[in-house]
């Protein structure tokens, strides 16, 4: 039996034409970046870029062809590599001319008469970063390497200075240095410093040679040691610090074989900038798409997108670099439904990727029913929807689904996954029930998501959300709680910082324990005459949260380092809840997670791993959605309606020549496997036979769906084979096909004997009164929400007339339908 599948295999990128494409002739605008920089100190330089925007909406690097001029050569000069070099205090206009357009930027020079103050972080940290000494694989590892500990990317310069000058290595459970403390500098005999001998391979070095004796970096370090290895200006409160690092230009879209010079600017606390392009280290996540030179020149290799990570001056930032496909000869005009499409379509246009057409009604109907309710549309509704000529029928359907009880069941399941509704206590199942009912009630009443989160973080008493805090018979430990809350509600993974500063990000161990301390006064209240436990905050009785290294009581501090005011400490978790839900991270995390729910992939992916080295594919869209959901009071239904109403969501899953390889720009809908429980319910809907779920004396009522069960209470082979999440941890993996599924399809009762149960659909269809064609049509409508094609009907009808048992043929057809990818996937 051949079942037509609309799913397409992943496409292969078309090879690029050998000759670089010629950009559209017309330059729409020209700009010079960085805009209005201020330089500090004579000799300080900054690269500039001339960026021309063309009629296709793409900005290209035309610096090499631009003609730069300066308004006052006494203040600054243009040097090699398109650098503006400061000479004297004052302001100067830098003009560039290209394509008949002129652009300018104002460069200000201050304190030209003063030498640039020394900064350990910038000077020494910069070399260590550039040379890869402080990566997590080398001395940036948790305990360092070979007796030397450095912070990753020089994020903790004071610690680095300590370990270099004093020696010693990091210990997880104490502030004492472990092992013998061997200083890496020798100020009496600087040339004998290990900091020089090892990277220059004058003595054996596991990390190999990093620079040669007498190289500029060697000499700079030697000079620093000769000066006594000072920490420098950042040791004073008034010192100028690097506040952030920016990579220019903001958006990088390359033609095939196109190039773009990147400029990395360190933004200092005094308002000036420093060009650290040459001191930065670069890495590319997809080396097939683009390559980067050590000086930050990006070159396109093949169409696609890649993230690049830039580490410099104690910071790490990332950005996306896109390489365009061949220009589409007749790029179609596509109508946007809402601002989501504006962002998606604009980028697709720039990348020369043509989105697939609007999905057909049948495709949309099945997709939206599964995504909003986890339920297949019944055949009567499929017929009705497909027959309707109402131009607003999609909108009306969305509204009907959002108001349905099936929506409540499905989104209780969805939220139950991330809020981890599971058997939390070994003894008190009613506690688990309370928690599950709180989730369900929150969905049924469309409770704003920020309120849901506030209720859970600040939960006290015996109310449903308070049950979350119980693991077995005790309250969960603050470090576990805060790691999960931060990941779930702020989209950041800070758990590494429990034992040490985060190896990739700037989360410190102090930050982690400061957050954990918000749970330091949470205790268990147990009435001596009752079994039930109650959660309260009682600072006078709590065991406190102890910082494992300092052994001191951790004081509650928000993630940004702000301490919780003393007068607010009687209710610390409420304050934390308010802070979390009011933070920009919260809205963007929710927007991103919602995107993942409907598209199977986040704008930031993984959805709970926002970090500087994991950029968003559509940062402006994410920001716009975050702003929107915040302005709409974190109304989940509003957010869902916005998404499913978009052209982007309603795009067909059938790819075209330009977009078949695209996985990150939502040019077409990518199929995603149904969750195990949704699939089980879908099979039950098609077969008319429900799976009986029992576990000892417990059982699932006949009226309940698989999505309603508490997953770890009822073990079921089908659910396990299809990747049911037991919610012991936050969900990470998405359903994936596997051998167990294939075996289950062949031998499992769900796909075989149970289909034939009395009273099921096969039993009914096999009886007289239903024609072959009616039976075939009903099965297609039920399982796939579409009519069968004529060829499919003819073939099946012939088979049913051929003398084979009618029931057997219907069974075979049903088996083939529910075993197909078209059925088991939402597409």
């Amino acid at each position: 039996m051949k079942i037509r599948l609309v799913l397409c295999a992943a496409g292969i990128h078309a090879a690029l034409a050998a000759a670089p494409p010629v950009p559209p002739a017309k330059v729409v605008s020209l700009r010079v970046i960085p805009a209005d920089p201020t330089l500090r100190g004579a000799g300080t330089a900054v690269r500039f870029l001339a960026m021309a925007k063309y009629a296709d909406g793409v900005e290209r690097d035309v610096t090499a062809q631009a003609e730069p001029t300066l308004s006052d050569p006494e203040v600054a000069a243009v040097g090699d590599g398109n650098r503006i070099i400061a000479k004297a205090d004052g302001e100067v206009l830098l003009r560039a001319k290209f394509g008949g357009r002129i652009a300018q930027t104002r460069v200000k020079v201050v304190q030209a008469d003063k030498p640039r103050p020394f900064s350990f972080a910038r000077e020494v940290g910069g070399i260590l970063t550039k040379k890869g000494c402080n990566t997590s694989e080398c001395h940036g590892g948790v305990k360092g390497q070979g007796g030397l500990k450095l912070s990753v990317n020089a994020t903790q310069p004071k610690d680095d200075h300590h370990y270099i000058v004093k020696g010693g290595v990091f210990q997880v459970l104490t502030t004492e240095s472990g092992g013998p403390a061997v200083p890496r500098v020798d100020t009496k005999e600087p040339e004998k410093s290990l900091l020089l001998l090892k990277p220059a391979m004058q003595v054996p070095h596991g990390g190999g040679q990093r620079f040669t004796k007498g190289s500029p970096d060697y000499d700079r370090l030697l000079g620093w040691i000769r000066q006594g290895a000072p920490f420098g200006e950042e040791s004073t409160e008034a010192a100028v610090r690097t506040e952030s690092v920016e990579v220019l230009p903001g958006e990088t879209i390359l033609d095939a074989n196109g190039r773009q010079q990147l400029v990395v600017l360190a933004k200092l606390s005094d308002g000036t900038v420093e060009d650290v392009t040459s001191e930065a280290s670069y890495s590319v996540s997809d080396v097939h798409v683009a390559k980067l030179t050590p000086d930050g020149l990006a070159t396109a290799l093949q169409p696609g997108e890649t993230a690049i990570v830039v580490r410099a001056a104690g910071h790490a930032v990332s950005k996306m670099v896109s390489v365009m496909s061949k220009p589409a000869p007749d790029y179609p005009a596509i109508k946007s439904h809402n601002y989501i499409d504006d962002h998606i379509l604009a980028k697709l246009r720039k990348l020369n990727i043509v989105p697939s057409g609007l999905s057909g009604d049948a495709e949309f109907l099945r997709r939206v029913c599964l995504d909003l309710t986890g339920t297949l549309p019944p055949p009567a509704r499929v017929r009705e929807f497909l027959a309707s000529k109402n131009p607003r029928k999609r909108e009306q359907l969305i509204d009907a689904l959002l108001d349905s009880p099936e929506f409540v069941e499905f989104w209780s399941f969805r939220l139950g996954e991330i809020l981890r509704y599971r058997q939390r206590s070994t003894q008190l199942m009613k506690d688990t029930q309370l928690y599950g009912e709180w989730i369900r009630e929150s969905v049924a009443s469309n409770k704003p998501f920020d309120r849901i989160v506030r209720e859970r973080i600040a939960a006290e008493g015996y109310a449903g959300p308070s049950r979350y805090y119980y693991e077995l018979r005790f309250l969960a430990e603050p470090p576990e709680i805060i790691a999960e809350q931060t990941r779930l509600f702020l989209g950041r993974r800070i758990e590494c910082a429990r034992c040490h500063n985060h190896p990739f990000e700037s989360w410190s161990q102090d930050q982690f324990w400061g957050l954990a301390a918000f749970y330091g006064s949470m205790v268990d209240l147990r009435n001596t005459v009752m079994d039930d436990s109650v959660v309260i905050d009682a600072p006078e009785a709590a065991a406190k949260v102890i910082h494992p290294r300092t052994k001191k009581t951790a004081e509650p501090r928000f993630l940004d380092g702000t301490p919780l005011a003393k007068e607010a400490r009687d209710d610390p978790r409420r304050r934390l809840a308010e802070w979390v839900t009011g933070h920009p991270y919260f809205a963007e995390t929710l927007a991103n997670r919602a995107w993942d729910w409907f598209f199977g992939r986040g704008i930031v992916e993984p959805v709970d791993d926002f970090r500087s080295t994991n950029p968003a594919t559509h940062p402006e869209l994410l920001a716009a959605m975050a702003k929107d959901i915040r302005e709409h009071g974190f109304d989940l239904k509003y957010l869902m309606k916005l998404i499913v109403s978009s052209r982007t969501y309603q795009t067909s899953g059938v790819p075209n020549e330009t977009n078949s390889g695209d996985r990150t720009n939502w040019s077409h809908v990518v199929p995603k496997a149904l969750d195990a429980a949704v699939l089980m319910d879908a099979i039950a809907a098609v077969t008319g036979v429900k799976e009986e779920l029992k576990e000892g004396p417990m059982g699932v009522p006949a009226s309940a769906r698989a999505i309603e069960i508490c997953p770890d209470l009822f073990s079921n082979k089908f659910l396990q084979a299809y990747g049911q999440n037991d919610r012991a941890t936050l969900p990470e993996a998405k359903p994936q096909p596997g051998l167990a599924q294939a075996l289950h399809m062949i031998t499992g009762p769900t796909y075989s004997t149970r289909m034939l149960d009395d009273g099921g659909r096969i039993d009914r269809l096999a009886r007289a009164g239903v024609t072959n064609r009616q039976a075939i049509e009903e099965l297609y409508l039920t399982a796939l929400a579409r009519f069968p094609e004529r060829a499919e009907v003819d073939q099946l009808d012939a088979l049913m007339r051929s003398g084979a048992s009618r029931k057997e043929v219907i069974f075979s057809l049903m088996w083939a339908l529910v075993s197909s990818r078209e059925f088991a996937y939402r597409h």
Binding site: E437, A463, L525, T528, V529, E695, P697, G699, V700
Partner: protein
């Protein structure tokens, strides 16, 4: 007179025995090993239906083990009679593993008749079997008609059982995942109360019934889709979940109240948490207009409850305390200071200006008057007093001011009569004129978990203290959380002089560890030539008895051929439930004294046809001299033939 718990089951003076001959049944009787120290005990596990109507006769089914030779029913109160109609041994579904002790399982049909004048409420029955007297099992008597769920499936709106209101329905969640649906018609604006109460036997096994209210509301997917309107643990209906208090095993009680905005057909679904099913999981469903709904008292058993949030406080309570004390008081105990040492030292310098309150003083009721969150707004009350109020909103505090004399011994008792723990956890604290806390009902226990010390807190329904310093104090009461509050968060707090008395008396008659002590196993079945040890724990409240004195135990009314040997320990503050000690335990828990009784039946002891109720009597010795004896409780005893045949 002090009484043991479950007194309604034990007194031969007030307990009527109705025996009916079993004409048609002869039970297989197994031979017993005379040397078996723990012979099988008859045990009832379930009773269905759980309820009947006064003035009617109904059939009921009990299940249990070791019930061979059951021949009569022993009821707790007059007005009830009945007979064993049929008995059958139930073969286990699975063979027991080799070497396992297998108890014989039985299903027994009873006929129960309730006189019209019996009155409503909780009653008990026991079976008299060849192996002796069973434990007691609970049922309820209603004034109105009582029906039972039909045999036919009624698990959805389409096959729901229609009920007329008001309704009392007996049902059972007998199988995993089972739900029972009942349909009814409601008028617009009508407010109905739905109560579901499980048997205490089911509650003891972790069965928690739940209620869901539905109406048919077409969904896009299904035109006949039932839509949940309210649920017994969501916020849309008024919900009371009376959880299993080990001192009040009346069963779990779930209440759902709902006002119907629209008239029409609705459905109430009875299920259980996570679909737990089994033959013992019986329930009663009551549906009534909210004006006529059963009061909480109807659902509760009322044995003596010394430390419970749901005992009724007031002058009746005080009278009951006086009835549980000795006619002659023991010497006063050394003062237990509620205040710090500064209070104690300053008190010695000042003469007392405020008179101490006599023990028999009548408590006046004082109702809070908002606003009273601040100490300056506290309502001044004379002692003794019964304070009443509600934590109307989250973070609400009610403050009361009172004056005490130096050396005054006070007891603070809390009652929550609507919302109760764990939903409402009232916390009070008493502060002195400087605002320093001298007392609270928040007890603290230190435990070790993962090699770290953690604290467990508990709000206590009763606290005692001695005030070393005369003066004015303020009592602040609130919910222990900062989230809960509302009109149902009502409390009653009694402040009274301490009345030394006997508190709870716990009798341990279990012969097997797996028998649930909360299900009233109190009974002793003795074989001739057999001896049995019974442990009795007496709680000494408010300094009833002092460690320096002694208390002995006497057993009165023993059947011929049975003698009792007794022993006792000194009272101590050891926790009844074991575990780590509560800080300042003397405030939060009574002194406990363990007493031992060995009942020894001689080989020639005569078999008894009926239970004999013996009395446990305490005899104190104060400073070496015997005081007046004091009844502690009663216990039914049977002498059973060694081979289990009571006819021998």
């Amino acid at each position: 007179m002090a009484k043991v718990r479950r007194t309604t089951t034990g007194s031969s003076n007030r307990c009527f025995v109705w025996i009916a001959a079993v004409a048609c049944l002869l039970f297989p009787v197994r031979a017993q090993d005379r040397t078996d120290p723990n012979p099988p005990e008859p045990r009832l596990a379930s009773l269905y239906p759980q309820a009947g109507q006064a003035g009617t006769t109904w059939q009921a089914e009990v299940t249990g083990e070791n019930l061979e030779g059951s021949r009569a029913i022993w009821f707790s109160t007059p007005g009830l009679s009945g007979a064993v109609v049929k008995a059958e041994e139930v073969k286990p579904e699975k063979a027991a593993p080799p070497g396992a002790v297998v108890e014989r399982q039985y299903k027994i049909t009873l006929r129960i008749e309730a006189q019209p004048s019996i009155g409503t409420g909780i009653r008990f029955l026991r079976l008299i079997s060849a192996l002796g007297l069973s434990n007691a099992i609970q049922f309820r008597i209603h004034a109105g008609p009582v029906t039972s769920e039909p045999e036919e499936k009624h698990a959805s709106p389409s096959d729901a059982t229609l009920i007329r209101l008001p309704a009392v329905v007996n049902g059972r969640i007998a199988k995993p995942g089972e739900t029972d649906w009942y349909g009814f018609d409601a008028a617009a604006g009508q407010e109905l109360v739905f109560d579901a109460i499980s048997s205490r036997e089911a509650a003891a096994t972790g069965f928690h019934q739940q209620l869901a209210l539905y109406r048919i509301a077409a969904s896009w997917f299904d035109p006949a889709r039932p839509l949940r309107v309210a649920f017994s643990s969501d916020v849309r209906g008024e919900v009371i979940v009376q959880n299993g208090d080990p001192r009040d095993r009346s069963g779990n009680w779930v209440r759902l109240k709902h006002r119907f905005a629209e008239p029409g057909r609705y459905y109430i679904e009875v299920g259980s948490v996570f679909g737990k099913g089994g033959p013992e999981n019986s329930y009663q469903l009551l549906v009534a207009d909210s004006k006529h709904a059963a009061t909480p008292e109807f659902w509760r058993q009322h044995p003596w409850q010394e430390r419970s949030f749901i005992r009724r406080l007031g002058n009746e309570h005080t009278r009951a305390l006086h009835a549980r004390t000795l006619a002659t008081e023991a010497p006063a105990a050394p003062a237990t200071s509620a205040a710090g040492s500064d209070h104690a030292s300053s008190s010695s310098a000042k003469p007392a200006a405020v008179a101490r309150i006599p023990r028999d003083a009548r408590a006046e009721a004082a109702v809070e008057n908002e606003p009273n969150d601040a100490d300056a707004q506290a309502l001044t009350v004379p002692l003794p007093a019964t304070l009443e109020g509600a934590i109307d909103r989250e973070s609400d505090i009610d403050a009361f001011r009172f004056q005490v004399a130096r050396g005054q011994k006070l007891a603070f008792e809390l009652e929550t009569f609507e919302a109760a723990p764990p939903e409402f956890n009232p916390r009070f604290e008493v502060v002195d004129a400087k605002g320093v806390e001298v007392l609270s009902n928040l007890a603290r226990t230190k435990e070790f978990k993962n090699s770290k010390s953690v604290y467990l807190l508990a709000v206590e329904p009763k606290v005692v203290a001695t005030f070393e310093q005369e003066g004015q104090y303020v009592l602040r009461i609130r919910d222990v959380t900062k989230r809960a509050g509302g009109p149902r968060f009502r409390y009653r707090l009694m402040i009274r002089p301490q009345i030394p008395h006997v508190g709870d008396v716990l009798v341990e008659t279990r012969t097997r560890a797996n028998e649930d002590a909360t299900l009233d196993p109190w009974r002793v079945n003795l074989r001739p030539g057999q001896a049995r040890k019974i442990n009795v724990t007496v709680e000494h409240e408010e300094g009833f008895f002092q460690p320096a004195n002694m208390m002995a135990l006497q057993v009165e009314g023993l059947p011929p051929g049975v003698t009792a040997l007794t022993g006792s320990s000194n009272p101590s503050l050891a926790s009844r439930f074991g575990g780590p000690a509560v800080e300042k335990a003397e405030r939060y828990q009574p002194a406990r004294q363990d007493l031992t009784v060995v009942l020894d039946a001689s080989p020639s002891a005569a078999v008894t046809d009926l239970p004999v109720t013996v009395r446990l009597v305490a005899r104190p010795f104060v400073q070496g001299k015997p005081g007046p004896s004091f009844p502690l409780g009663e216990l039914p005893i049977m002498i059973v033939a060694a081979d289990g045949d009571t006819k021998k």
